[in-house]
Subunit: 112 residues, 2 copies
Amino acid sequence: MSTMTAAIRYNADGLVPAVAQDADTGEVLMLAWMDAEAVRRTLATLRATYWSRSRQEYWVKGETSGHTQEVVSMAVDCDGDTLLLTVRQTGAACHTGNRTCFYTPLTSADLA
Amino acid sequence: MSTMTAAIRYNADGLVPAVAQDADTGEVLMLAWMDAEAVRRTLATLRATYWSRSRQEYWVKGETSGHTQEVVSMAVDCDGDTLLLTVRQTGAACHTGNRTCFYTPLTSADLA
């Protein structure tokens, strides 16, 4: 691994959060997790590949739903513990059918 | 707490990742962590307030640097384990002086 991927700091479970952003609209679509092998597969194939913590398996986004993510760019943050992907999202990013997973607003009224 | 904030699923450390996005440009600026009290303070004050895992203390973004984040909107994702904030960022979001923390690209060349 090169300096750049070596800069990734995985957590105690060997995972790093990866934020997926729509490359065209800028919309933040979802956050999922990658281990080093998922990072390798994603960079090698340019198909976003995550580690499913619930299923404990690699998860090529859209492999069953068809809602694939073609990776346009990928970056690691300043302290190495978060990734950002910009993607071309086919269909919905969210398993609910919503374009993005972030469709539930929180406001100060929620504190009442 | 209402249904919406009650929907947040904190991890074993009582934390949830929060992605901050520039409300005007759509640029993803950073990811930091919040506990329930940081969520409450953020919603109540509309100043992004995180939990610093390294310093083990609340961290009002920009309190020392002046690089504050005024919260425009906040959302929780479909399964409750990630937050998204859109913010008006004063100055640089990154402690390095970069506008965003995600300034280091990763490419397949990094796998060589």
